[in-house]
Every structure is written in structure tokens, then in C-alpha cells.
């Protein structure tokens, strides 16, 4: 069973599971000790984590193809949420359909391990194709705004995220510690861990606002505390899941901590511009899917290219 996975990946998934068990236990104890307080949001948040971890683990355990389909589906949900939030032109309905069609193609390139096509399909071909499709329809009012918003969405929700899946297409021999799934686990776990760590550090010690105009709850203490924790954990996990050396793994941790934060506040800026607090209600306690994968839209391509440059 699970012969496509390295033992370290199985231990990693087991580790995540035990973190969730601990979190759920803590919430149950808190509820018992303080029956007067409401832990609804915290419970919802952890229940949503159970579902997300469950689906993710199932996909990883099932097969490489299932994992690629999982990321394609996350891209679909994210792009759909984005298209549902932004102002769109009635004339562009069919153009949006083409944009959705990019998802199966992009992840098919991943499946084929066709790096050349994977890396240019959206930034070159769709970047040129979709405006052409819009021109054929012929609506010029707000053309630039619509084309720009469309491409930003595709780059963020499909191109960026698909880098997480491309780890699975990299040569297994070059990462004897964890294989492709090891790299995926390293990326996803550290990105999500960094979000939680920055949140907790901020709650416990936060004083100085870091970017009040975009995200008033984010503090320097939260950012730096999370960054340090994530970097330490990256150094701890890297030997078991990645081909990174110790100095490289420290850099990888810093990269995930910083870019995760930037991804988070970038989506915050988008939501602030549109005028919504949450991007949706798909994940109770978290908001929408964009609220959960905001950091990943930055960490996935950056960590991928960092490791790809160094080792592949």
C-alpha cells in the first residue's frame, strides 16, 4: 500500500493528523473549562481544517494523478470564487469559460511532466488568446480593465497554484528523501503552518502594526514570530522531505514566511478593494477558498523555482 510514497511523507501526514487531534482536544478542554465563552468560530475553523487535511491526505495517499486532480480542483474553486467576486462584463461570459478551460490543460501539462508548456501556457498563450477572444466579441468599453482582471486571476489562481502540483512531476531520483509528494507536503504544510504561526504570535504578542492600510490586524511581532518559527521548522523538516542542504532549508523557510505573508496581504488588498471581508463561505471559520490559499499563491511558485534552480 502507498508504494508511490516515501515513509517520511506518511510520517508527515501522521504528524499533521496528530496536530489536529491536539487542536481538537484543546478546544474540547477550553469548552469544558469556560462554558460561558463561545468557541464557535474556533471549532468551525478546526472542523474545516479536518476536512481540508482529510481531502488533501486522501489525494496524496491515493496516487500522483489524484494529487494533480486535487490541485486542479482547488484552482477551479479559487478561480470561480475570484470571478464571482470581481465585476465582470456580460459580454465576457464566453471568455470566462475559456479561462476555466485553461485549468484542465495546465494540469494536463503537469501530468505529462512537460515543463516547457507548463511554464508558458498561461503567461504567453492564454495572455494573448483571451484578449483575442474578447476582441472577436467586440465590446471595447472597459476592455483593458476586464482583460487585466482576467489575466491576474488566471496567473494567481491557476498558474501560481499549479506550481504546487508540478513538484509531483519532478524526477523522483533527485529527491531520495521524500520524492515529489515530499516537496508538496513541505510546501503546503509550511505555508499553512506559517499562517497559523503568524496569527498566534500576533494574537499573543502583537503591538506594532505592519501594514495598517491593508490589513489592520497584522503586526510586526506576528510576522517575525511566525517567520522564525517557520524557518526553524523548515530546517527540521527539510532533510526528511526535500533535497535541500541546511543553509538552503533555512532560506526556504525565510522564503515561505515572507512570501506567505505577502500573498496573504495581497488577497487582503483585493478583498478591501472589492469591499468584502471574506472571499466566500465555503470553509466555515475561514471564509472562502481564497482566504485559505492566499499565501499559497505566492509561496508555491517561489519555493518551486527556488528548489528547481538549486536541484533540478
Amino acid at each position: 500500500m502507498f508504494s508511490h510514497l516515501h515513509a517520511s511523507v506518511l510520517y508527515g501526514l501522521g504528524g499533521i493528523l496528530s496536530v489536529l487531534v491536539v487542536a481538537s482536544t484543546v478546544v474540547i478542554i477550553l469548552k469544558r473549562r469556560h462554558p460561558e465563552k463561545s468557541y464557535v468560530e474556533l471549532s468551525q475553523r478546526i472542523n474545516s481544517w479536518w476536512i481540508m487535511v482529510g481531502v488533501f491526505s486522501a489525494a496524496i495517499l491515493l496516487s500522483r494523478t489524484a494529487s494533480i486532480v486535487f490541485f486542479a480542483f482547488v484552482s477551479f474553486l479559487a478561480l470561480k470564487e475570484y470571478f464571482s467576486l470581481i465585476p465582470t462584463r456580460r459580454a465576457d461570459r464566453r471568455v470566462l469559460f475559456w479561462a476555466y478551460l485553461a485549468i484542465p490543460f495546465q494540469y494536463y501539462w503537469v501530468h505529462l511532466e512537460w515543463y516547457g508548456m507548463f511554464i508558458i501556457f498561461i503567461p504567453v498563450y492564454l495572455f494573448l488568446l483571451l484578449p483575442m477572444r474578447m476582441v472577436i466579441i467586440g465590446e471595447t468599453k472597459e476592455f483593458l480593465r476586464a482583460a487585466g482582471m482576467l489575466h491576474w486571476g488566471l496567473m494567481t489562481m491557476v498558474f501560481s497554484l499549479s506550481h504546487a502540483a508540478f513538484f509531483l512531476a519532478l524526477s523522483e531520483e533527485k529527491n531520495p528523501a521524500g520524492g515529489g509528494a515530499g516537496l508538496v507536503l513541505f510546501l503546503i504544510f509550511l505555508t499553512q503552518f506559517n499562517d497559523v504561526a503568524q496569527f498566534i504570535w500576533g494574537k499573543l504578542t502583537g503591538r506594532h502594526k505592519i501594514i495598517p492600510l491593508v490589513s489592520p490586524n497584522k503586526t510586526w511581532e506576528g510576522f517575525l514570530g511566525g517567520l522564525a518559527t517557520t524557518t526553524a521548522l523548515a530546517a527540521l523538516l527539510a532533510p526528511h522531505l526535500t533535497p535541500l542542504t541546511v543553509p538552503e532549508s533555512l532560506l526556504a523557510g525565510l522564503l515561505i514566511g515572507c512570501s506567505g505573508f505577502i500573498g496573504d496581504v495581497t488577497i487582503s488588498a483585493l478583498k478591501r478593494d472589492i469591499g468584502v471581508k471574506d472571499s466566500g463561505s465555503l470553509l466555515p471559520g475561514h471564509g472562502g477558498i481564497l482566504d485559505r490559499i492566499d499565501s499559497l499563491t505566492f509561496t508555491a511558485p517561489l519555493l518551486f523555482h527556488f528548489i528547481y534552480y538549486l536541484h533540478y
Binding site: F76, L77, K80, E81, F83, S84, L85, I86, P87, T88, R89, R90, R93, R94, L96, F97, Y100, I274, G275, V276, G280, S281, L282
Partner: protein
């Protein structure tokens, strides 16, 4: 049986995966019949989504009230409307004054069914609220103790507007209001209903669609 298969294999996957529903105030959705569900109308998907909202056991008692002239235009559509969707056909242009156009609706309510009604009459301009027709007020007056749940739907008019055959995925926002009852006079009731649906529309973030 055919209806349940159609909803299980086609409608639910489309409504929950291809589209995705953001439901606000789910607790107001009727849990038993008889009841009337009233919503704005932008797309053929509206009826399907409203029927999906109901508990699975109530699917068979859901009765969309639909235009007879449209759904009886050919045999296949008529078969689909009656066998799968269980519609109550409504004559939009009444010629025979002695005939009660709402008899079918009243009978269904007496059986404990859940009526799905679109007071705008037709799907109209996508994502714009048209004027309400007063048939619902006549029905409410006849059945003053049956709860009328107002619902505002957003997004389906973008996903599949009138005259389009290609479904483009968009999240659908569903705002369910508190059930209303007959107020005693027609004009007053229509105002209450329209206000309720407009208030639901204002709860959400509705991005521009022009």
C-alpha cells in the same frame, strides 16, 4: 424515481460543484409543507437550485409554478416539465374568465406541497429585479396561514442567462428571508414581499455585471 435520479446525478453535482452555493440564513428554508417559496428569477437554474435547497425528502413535494405556454411548447419539454420537475402549469394569458388560473396551486397546497413561485413572471434581464405580478397575493389571501418564504438568488443569471446555452461557473448566493404571512390587503402584501426580497438583495455583495 426519475426525478430523484435526475437531481442526484445531474442537478446536485451542477449546483454544488460546478456552481457552488453560498447560503445565508439556511434555517429559514421550509422544513415541511405546505409552504410557498418566492424568489427573483434570472435563469432556468433558479428552479433547480431552489429545489436542491429543500431537504431531500421534500423534493417530491416541490412544485414549481411555470408558464404553460413555454413549457408545453413541445412534447419532450412537456414530459420533462411534468414528469421530472412536477410543475404546476400556469396560463399567463387568460382567455376564459370562468376558469380559476390558481386552482392548480391551491390544490397542491391543500395536499401539503411546497410551491416555488417567481412573481416577476419571466426570467427577464439578467441580474435585475423586475416588477412583481400579483398572482402570489391572490394565493396568499386564499391560504392566509401558509408561510411564504422570500428568497433572493444572485449569480445564476450570470451562469446561465436567458437565451444562452453555455453554462459558465459562478458561485450562487442564496439569501433566505424569514417566512411571511398574508397581511390583509393586496397592495400591502405586495409591498411587504418586494421589500423583503430587496432587503435580502442588499445583504450581499453583488459585483457589477454590465
Amino acid at each position: 424515481m426519475l426525478q430523484q435520479l435526475f437531481f442526484l446525478l445531474i442537478v446536485r453535482p451542477i449546483a454544488l460543484i460546478v456552481l457552488g452555493l453560498n447560503i445565508r440564513h439556511r434555517e429559514h428554508i421550509p422544513a415541511k409543507g405546505p409552504a410557498i417559496v418566492v424568489s427573483n428569477h434570472n435563469s432556468h437554474l433558479d428552479t433547480l437550485v431552489l429545489m436542491t435547497l429543500l431537504p431531500w425528502s421534500l423534493l417530491k413535494s416541490a412544485r414549481p409554478v411555470a408558464a404553460q405556454d413555454y413549457f408545453f411548447q413541445n412534447t419532450l419539454l412537456k414530459w420533462f416539465a411534468l414528469t421530472i420537475m412536477h410543475i404546476i402549469p400556469l396560463e399567463r394569458h387568460i382567455t376564459d374568465r370562468s376558469h380559476d388560473p390558481l386552482a392548480g396551486c391551491s390544490d397542491a397546497l391543500k395536499q401539503g406541497d411546497i410551491l416555488i413561485l417567481f412573481p416577476e413572471g419571466s426570467r427577464g434581464e439578467p441580474e435585475q429585479l423586475g416588477t412583481f405580478k400579483t398572482g402570489i397575493a391572490h394565493l396568499a389571501k386564499r391560504h392566509p396561514d401558509i408561510p411564504i418564504t422570500p428568497i433572493f438568488l444572485h449569480g445564476l443569471g450570470k451562469a446561465l442567462p436567458k437565451g444562452e446555452g453555455l453554462l459558465v461557473p459562478f458561485f450562487c448566493d442564496v439569501f433566505v428571508g424569514e417566512p411571511l404571512l398574508w397581511t390583509g390587503d393586496k397592495a400591502g402584501f405586495m409591498t411587504v414581499l418586494e421589500t423583503a426580497i430587496k432587503a435580502l438583495a442588499e445583504e450581499g455583495h453583488l459585483p457589477a455585471w454590465e
